[in-house]
C-alpha cells in the first residue's frame, strides 16, 4: 500500500515538474528574427548581448534564428519570403541578391511607410550608407548595420623577416610573389575552385577600373573583366596560390595565413575576427594595380550591402508592429552599433560613432577602417552587380581559365548569356 502511494506520489511530482518546465512562458509579443550574426560571426557576441538587453527591457520573446551565411541558408531565407513565411525581422543582403526578398512583396518600404512615421530612425543614419540601400525603384527596404571593406590582408612580419617590401605597388607585389615562392611560403592565400573568392573581384577591379567594374554584363562583356580573369591565370602560373587552390574553401587559406604559411590574403573585414591571434603582425592594404590595369590604387571594394528588412505582416500586426520597430531602433542605436563595429571591425552606418574612440579595435582593424575611409573609390562587389547564376558561372569558370581549359572571354560570354536570361525575367 505504502509503495503504491510512493509510486503515485513520484509520478505526480515528476508530472508537475515536467509540466512546469515545459509549459511555455507567455510573453506579450513573440518576434522571429534572422540575422547574419550567428555561429562564428565575430559580431555574434555583441548581437546576442543586444538581444538579451532588449528582452530585459520589454515583455518580448525573441526567437533568434541567426546563422552565418552559406548558399543553403540564403535559399532558406529567399524561400521563406516567397512562401510568406518570413521572419518578422530579417537581416539580409540589400544588393542584387535582395531580388527575391523585395520581389516577394512581403517587406515594408522604409521610404514610404516607416521613415514618414518614425523620422528619427532615418535621422540617425549617415547619408551615404542609407543611399546605398536604395533599390531599383528608389525605395529603401533594408536599413544597414555595419558596412564592409575588402583588401589584401598582409602577414607583415613575414615581409619584415624576409626583407621584402610591402606590396604597395605592382612591382613590389610581383617581387613579393617571387621571393615568397623562393622561401617556400605561399604568396596569396585563396581557393580558386570551390568558393567565390574575393580575388575574383579584386582582379576585376584593378584591371577594369571602377567604371567598367560597375557596368556589369548587361551591355556586353567589358574588356576589363576579361583582363581581370586573365590576371588570375597569370598569378596562378606564377605559383602565387597554394598548390591545392582548386580544392580549397574559405577556411584553409585563412588557417594557412594564421600559421604564417601564407603572406597575403585577399579578404574582407569579417575575416579579421578569425585572425585575431595575428593582430599585432598584420596590416591591410588595397590590391595593387598592374601597369596595364584601368584601376586606381586605393580603389577598394566596400559598402553597405546588408540591412534589416521588416516583414509586412509583422509591421501591420497590432502587437508586433510597434515592437519590431523598437527592436530595429535598438539594434541600430549608437551604443549597439558601436559594440558591433568593435566586434566585426565594420564601418558604422549611424552618426556619432568615432572609430578612434573604440578601444576594442586592434591596429589592423583601425587600418582597415582607414582604408575604407581614405579610399579613392569605393565599389560594390561583383556579385552585387550581376545575377546569381551569372556570377556562379564566373566562379566555376575560374578553375577552367587558370588551367587553360577555357578562355576568360568564353567564360564571361557564357556568364553574359545567363545574365541576359535572368534579366529577361525581371523585365
Amino acid at each position: 500500500m505504502l509503495s503504491s502511494f510512493k509510486k503515485t506520489g513520484s509520478i505526480l511530482i515528476v508530472s508537475v515538474l515536467f509540466l512546469t518546465l515545459t509549459a511555455p512562458v507567455s510573453y506579450a509579443v513573440d518576434l522571429e528574427v534572422f540575422t547574419m550574426f550567428g555561429g562564428a560571426d565575430p559580431a555574434s557576441g555583441a548581437y546576442q548581448d543586444a538581444i538579451s538587453e532588449f528582452e530585459s527591457m520589454y515583455d518580448v520573446d525573441i526567437n533568434d534564428d541567426s546563422s552565418t551565411m552559406d548558399d543553403s541558408v540564403k535559399v532558406r531565407i529567399e524561400n521563406a519570403f516567397q512562401a510568406n513565411n518570413e521572419p518578422d525581422l530579417t537581416m539580409y543582403f540589400t544588393d542584387e541578391q535582395a531580388s527575391p526578398i523585395i520581389n516577394s512583396n512581403n517587406v515594408v518600404s522604409y521610404t514610404e511607410e516607416i521613415f514618414p512615421e518614425y523620422p528619427e530612425l532615418k535621422d540617425r543614419y549617415l547619408e551615404d550608407p542609407l543611399e546605398q540601400q536604395c533599390w531599383k525603384d528608389d525605395h529603401i527596404y533594408g536599413i544597414p548595420v555595419t558596412g564592409f571593406y575588402e583588401g589584401l590582408i598582409i602577414n607583415e612580419d613575414l615581409f619584415e623577416e624576409h626583407d621584402i617590401p610591402l606590396p604597395t605597388n605592382w612591382e613590389n607585389f610581383i617581387t613579393a610573389i617571387e621571393r615568397f615562392n623562393e622561401e617556400d611560403i605561399v604568396p596569396i592565400g585563396a581557393g580558386l575552385g570551390r568558393v567565390p573568392h574575393y580575388i575574383i573581384e579584386h582582379a576585376i577591379l584593378v584591371m577594369a577600373g571602377a567604371e567598367q567594374h560597375n557596368a556589369g554584363l548587361k551591355d556586353g562583356v567589358p574588356q576589363g573583366w576579361i583582363d581581370g580573369l586573365n590576371l588570375i591565370k597569370e598569378l596562378y602560373e606564377m605559383n602565387a596560390f597554394p598548390v591545392d587552390t582548386l580544392n580549397m574553401g574559405w577556411e584553409q587559406p585563412r588557417e594557412m595565413f594564421r600559421r604564417k604559411e601564407v603572406a597575403m590574403l585577399p579578404e574582407g573585414n569579417w575575416a579579421l575576427g578569425a585572425l585575431s591571434e595575428n593582430y599585432d603582425t598584420m596590416t591591410i592594404l588595397p590590391m595593387p594595380v598592374p601597369p596595364e590595369g584601368r584601376g586606381e590604387y586605393g580603389s577598394i571594394i566596400a559598402g553597405f550591402t546588408s540591412g534589416f528588412y521588416i516583414s509586412k505582416d509583422a509591421y501591420q500586426d497590432e502587437k508586433k508592429g510597434e515592437m519590431v520597430i523598437k527592436l530595429v531602433k535598438h539594434l541600430t542605436s549608437k551604443e549597439v552599433m558601436a559594440d558591433i563595429v568593435e566586434a566585426n571591425a565594420g564601418l558604422p552606418s549611424v552618426k556619432g560613432i568615432n572609430v578612434d574612440d573604440l578601444e576594442g579595435l586592434s591596429k589592423v582593424e583601425r587600418e582597415g577602417v582607414d582604408l575604407a575611409n581614405l579610399a579613392s573609390n569605393i565599389v560594390l562587389p561583383t556579385d552585387a552587380k550581376i545575377s546569381r547564376p551569372a556570377f556562379q558561372e564566373i566562379v566555376d569558370g575560374v578553375a577552367y581559365i587558370v588551367e587553360g581549359e577555357k578562355t576568360a572571354q568564353k567564360v564571361l560570354e557564357s556568364a553574359r548569356e545567363i545574365e541576359m536570361e535572368a534579366r529577361r525575367e525581371e523585365e
Binding site: D71, Q82, V243
Partner: protein, 296 residues
Amino acid sequence: MRQFEDDKKVIIMFLIPAFAFIFIFLLYPLIRTFYNSLFYILQNTNPRYVGLGNYHKLFTDSGMITAIWNTLIFMIAAVLIEVGLGTVLAILINFIKRGAKFFRIVYVFPVVVSAAALGLLFSLIYNYRVGLLNTIISWLGYNPIRWITRDSSLWAVIAPVTWRYVGFYFIIILTAITKIPKTLYESAEIEGANRWQKTRHITLPLIFSDIRISIIIAITGVTKVFSMVWIITQGGPMNSSQVLGTYLYSVTFQRRLFGYGSTIAVFIVIFGLLLVVLTNKLLKSDDDSGYGTPGM
C-alpha cells in the same frame, strides 16, 4: 456482402492516413517538381513557362553530361566494391570460427558514422599540407602529392563512399548465408566438396536473390550520393567529381535555378527507375535460368 462492405470501409479508413502521408510528402512534391521543370525559375520568383526547354538544356549541358557519366562509373564501382567486397567478406567471415563477431563490428562500423563526419575525415586524409596520406609520404622521404586533381578526384570520392557501405551489404549477405541450412554443407562435405565448391554450388546460388536486391539498392543509392562528395571535392575540380546529387545542389542552391534544378531532379528519378528495371531484368534472366533457385 454487407460484412464485406463494412470491412472495405474500415480498410479504406486505415489506408487514408498512410496514403495522405505519401501523397503530401512524396507524390505532391514529385508532381510539383515535374511542373516546375517546365519553367525558368530564378530564385523561386516569377516563373516563366519554357515547355521542354529545360529538358533540352539537360542533354546539352556539359556539367550534366559529366555528372551522368560519373554517376554511371560510381554505380559500377558501388556494385563491384560495395556488393562485391561485402559478399566476399561475408563468405570469408562465414568460414572462420573465431573472431567473426569482431570483424562484423569492424565492417559495419562505417555505416553508422554520419556521411558528413566521414567526408570531413577523408578531406583531412587527402589534405595536401596536413593530411594523413602526405604525412606518411613525408615520413618515407617523398614529396607530398595532390590527391585531389582533375584525374583523381572521382576515385578520391568513390573510395570513401563505397568503403562506407561495404559493411551494409556485408550484413545483408551474411544474414542470407546464415539462413542456408547446415545440412546442405554437411552433405556436400560427405560428398568430398572443398570450400570453393561449397561456395560456388551452395552458397552463391542460395544467396543470389539477396545479391540481386543488394545490387539494386547499391545502384539506386548512387543516385542519392551527395554529402561526402560535396564535403570532399564539391564536385570539382572542374566538375571532375560531379555526380547527379551534387550537380542538382549546385544548380539549385548555388545558381538558384529552381526550374532547371527540378528538371535534374525529375531526370534523377527517371534515371534511377530505369536502372532498377534494367538491372532487375538483366539479373532476372540469370535467375530464371535456374541459378538462383535453391530447388529445395
